[in-house]
């Protein structure tokens, strides 16, 4: 799991790379929380997420909830197919309210 931070004038993006699973969850959680603390407009780039499971999903839900608790809005961008599949299955795409772009061919 690699997390790359990219800051630009208050807007910062954390690019997650690799798997967001139970094996990496403990590692990712503090990084996400620090992203929320540090930035006014946090953004999570999911384009390099190769795998996501319930633990990863929980982290995204946590980040979303935490962000709205402290009055920030968090954006998820560049959903990888694994993320799209997971959010779709749980019918959570709307909850996050981010744009998910998916070509019709990727649909199973």
């Amino acid at each position: 799991m690699n997390v790359t931070f990219n800051r630009e004038s208050g807007m910062c993006t954390a690019q997650l790379e690799g798997e967001m699973t139970i094996y990496t969850a403990a590692e990712i959680k503090p990084m996400l929380l620090s992203l929320l603390d540090d930035c006014s407009e946090p953004e999570i780039d999911l384009s390099q997420v190769s795998e996501i499971d319930s633990a990863g999903l929980q982290l995204l839900l946590l980040a979303k909830r935490e962000a709205s608790r402290i009055g920030k809005s968090i954006r998820l961008v560049g959903h990888s197919p694994a993320v799209v599949e997971c959010l779709d299955m749980c019918n959570l795409t709307a909850l996050f309210g981010d744009q998910v772009v998916l070509s019709s061919q990727q649909k199973q």
């Binding site: 139970i22 969850a25 403990a26 990712i28 959680k29 929380l33 499971d53 319930s54 633990a55 999903l57 929980q58 982290l59 839900l61 946590l62 909830r65 935490e66 599949e85 997971c86 959010l87 779709d88 299955m89 749980c90 019918n91 959570l92 795409t93 909850l95 744009q99 998910v100 772009v101 998916l102 070509s103 019709s104 061919q105 649909k107 199973q108």
Partner: protein, 725 residues
């Protein structure tokens, strides 16, 4: 999830609804004001499209129809009135939705042009909304451009009743025990279809306390499956100890749902809402169940009251759930009156019946040969039944022409605006039925004729008034059945065809020779010649002399004919005569040696015996003198390379096509024959002179002659031999 199929249904329905919408709009425009029924029809169409598009996450359509719907809502509330401008705007909205629907599944997305048109229409529509709605609208108008792209979500699903309801709450240890709740969902999908799913993460503590390796998730699932409870329960066997699983079979008592709601940790009201959202319970059912509950327990904090009260429930949420159900009901009601059948299935049925006609012919032939009168009687009864089955099967393919005609309302409206004439379209015989294939193919030729009539036929308003006619021109589309064929008429009350002008043009173009005495009919038909145009001006619509030629070809391809009636100063009627069906025709069976051929009966003019004098002359020339006229002929024996000399008398069959006559020399005339047309395979696609084949009662194959091609060929041979002589 079989979303593709559902999407196809959506596409079909959306197009129908848009057609309904357009029809209603046009009727409003004609009447000048909208009656309630028409407005409701439009509203219903827009609403249903929006709802269904929402299910498929077609956000571009949802966003656009939302605005349309909002304006319509104001009209329904009598805050706005339909005027010409508004109807035009709605018609363009209709067009735009149609385009959006066309683009579903198209990955390239909408073109910039189309998007610009859409935005313009949307802006204009927004102008009709008041302040309050403006706000709601701005959210959809400001939807990011990405939303305009076509993308689909595999989530969601269609609301339906009769689903299982599954409540899952996973314990904190699930993940650490090496199990992934999502994996269970994936497995569940193998047993059936997850109709709706709601994910709950309320059990998750605050960020500080949250353990990333504990599981806090819960799901409420509406699930459609044919499996039994044991099978579904078995999915969750591995997490039995670590999770709370409730499985409610379809149509459980409402009380069972309430029990589940009570037993779960989350806020009761929220769960009630979720059940409604999942489609497992209807709002009414939940309410009822909760009221019953209220009778038993004292009225403290009761779900029923809260829901009935509506104060705490987000009205939008409940409305959405109810609207979805309403929509499903509407769709079902429509399905009851009409059954949608795959066109392929119908074709298959027609094919089978064709086979049956052939087999029947075999039976009756053998019955005749056997000489057993009982057998003959039975065979004739069967033939009779087969004919009836054939007729009713062919009517299955029949559709009313009205729908095709109605499309022209819009065309006439648009074209008359474009050319600045006031023209009304009258439709007659809309309920006349004809074969679906013919209907599909008649659209283009009709379009040419209608445009032509509007552009050249009907005069400008000033000229009409000068001629003492009402300023409004009338174009009439009419259809009726006439002895086994269907007649479609396009008439206008314009100036009529100018006989002399046509004659003069035809002479200029060498289409006819001077001094020929042509009947009016023959002269009018010249307008269907390639490149023929009498128009002094070429407009966008017509005048290039291409259209009418194409019309004639299209009609002839359908084995149809065209007649023209015209009275100077009073108008023109173009009459298209088409066969009722394309699958089975009346043929004339002829034989050459052992081979059998079919000539479409309606092209046969007469049959004669080949006189001895002509037979002798056959080697030198290929035409005979038929009552003083030259008749070129073809010998089918030579043409198809059939071996053996004619033994007895030979006959000549005179056929006519497109004004030309030709003779075919054959050995035997075998009479009329119900011909089931079998198309030729690909290998034979280049074969000249044959259009198809059929199977005779004896099981032999007979080839169907391509009369138009053969007639043309005999005519050209005639010219050549003439030159040689």
């Amino acid at each position: 999830m079989n979303l593709d199929q559902a999407l196809q249904t959506f596409l079909v329905e959306a197009r129908e609804l848009l057609q309904d919408m357009e029809d209603a709009l046009l009727s409003i425009e004609q009447q000048g004001s909208g009656d309630e029924e028409a407005i409701n029809a439009i509203f219903r169409a827009a609403h249903t499209i929006k709802g269904t598009a929402g299910i498929f996450a077609l956000d571009a359509i949802v966003a656009f129809t939302h605005v349309v719907e909002s304006v319509l809502d104001r009209i329904r509330k009598n805050e706005l009135q339909f005027d010409n401008e508004l109807t035009s705007l709605f018609l363009s909205s209709c067009d735009h939705i149609n385009k959006l629907v066309d683009h579903i599944g198209d990955e390239s997305g909408l073109s910039a042009d189309l998007q610009a048109v859409g935005n313009k229409v949307q802006q204009q529509l927004s102008g009709y909304l008041n302040e309050e709605l403006h706000q709601a609208d701005s959210t959809s108008a400001s939807l990011p451009e990405l939303h305009q792209d076509s993308f689909e979500s595999s989530g969601g699903g269609v609301v339906g009743s009769d689903n299982w309801h599954i409540s899952l709450r996973f314990g904190p240890e699930v993940l650490r025990n090496g199990m992934d709740p999502l994996a269970f969902l994936r497995y569940l999908e193998r047993l059936g279809q997850i109709v709706t799913i709601h994910t709950l993460a309320d059990a998750m503590p605050t960020a500080a306390e949250m353990d990333p390796e504990s599981c806090y998730l819960g799901f409420e699932i509406s699930f459609r499956s044919d499996s039994d409870k044991a099978t579904i329960a078995a999915v969750f066997d591995f997490v039995r100890e670590d999770a709370t699983v409730h499985i409610l079979p379809p149509r459980s008592r409402i009380a069972a749902y309430i029990e589940v709601i009570k037993s779960l940790p989350e806020d009761e009201m929220q769960l009630g809402q979720l059940l409604v959202l999942c489609g497992s319970l209807t709002e009414a059912e939940l309410e009822q169940g909760l009221k019953e509950q209220a009778g038993i327990t004292p009225p403290s904090k009761l779900l029923g009251e809260i829901l009935v009260d509506d104060g705490d429930v987000q009205p939008a949420v409940v409305a959405a759930a109810l609207a979805k159900q309403q929509q499903v009901k509407e769709v079902k009601a429509k399905q009851n009156s009409v059954i949608r059948v795959d066109a392929n299935k119908l074709d298959q049925l027609i094919n089978l019946i064709g086979e049956m006609v052939i087999a029947g012919a075999g039976v009756s032939m053998h019955a005749q040969l056997s000489g057993d009168s009982n057998m003959q009687e039975a065979a004739s009864t069967i033939m009779h039944m087969i004919e009836e089955v054939r007729d009713s099967a062919l009517t299955l393919r029949m559709v009313q022409i009205g729908e095709t005609f109605n499309r022209f309302q819009r065309v006439v409206r648009d074209v008359s605006k474009e050319i600045g004439k006031d023209i009304r379209l009258d439709i007659g015989g809309a309920e006349t039925e004809l074969d679906k294939t013919v209907v599909d193919k008649i659209g283009d030729p009709l379009m040419h004729l209608v445009r032509n009539s509007m552009d050249h036929g009907i005069e400008s308003a000033e000229l009409r008034q000068a001629r003492g006619k009402p300023a409004q021109g009338v174009l009439k589309l009419n259809a009726y059945h006439d002895s086994g064929s269907i007649v479609i008429e396009v008439s206008d009350d314009g100036g009529g065809l100018n006989r002399d002008r046509i004659l003069q043009k035809a002479l200029e173009r060498d289409l006819i020779q001077a001094g020929h005495n042509l009947s009016d009919q023959e002269i009018y038909k010249l307008i269907f010649e390639a490149g023929f145009s009498t128009a002094e001006q070429v407009t966008n619509l017509s005048g290039r002399g291409v259209g009418m030629d194409v019309v004639r070809k299209n009609i002839e391809a359908l084995r149809g004919t065209i007649e023209i009636d015209s009275t100077a100063g009073e108008g023109t009627t173009i009459r298209i005569r088409l066969p009722l069906t394309l699958a089975i025709i009346d043929g004339f069976l002829v034989g050459v040696a052992d081979a059998a051929f079919i000539i479409p009966l309606d092209m046969v003019v007469e049959c004669l015996e080949l006189a001895d004098i002509d037979r002798e002359a056959m080697r030198d020339r290929n035409y005979i003198n038929l009552r003083g006229k030259v008749l070129p002929y073809l010998q089918l024996r030579n043409l198809f390379g059939i071996e053996g000399e004619a033994t007895g008398r030979e006959n000549i069959i005179v056929v006519q096509y497109g004004g030309n006559r030709a003779g075919f020399v054959v050995d035997k005339l075998m009479g009329e024959f119900q011909t089931v047309i079998k198309p030729l395979g690909k290998i034979f696609s280049n074969l000249k002179g044959i259009t198809g084949s059929t199977i005779l009662g004896s099981g032999e194959v007979a080839l169907i002659l391509d009369v138009p091609m053969l007639v043309e060929r005999s005519a050209s041979m005639d010219v050549k031999s003439g030159v040689a002589a």
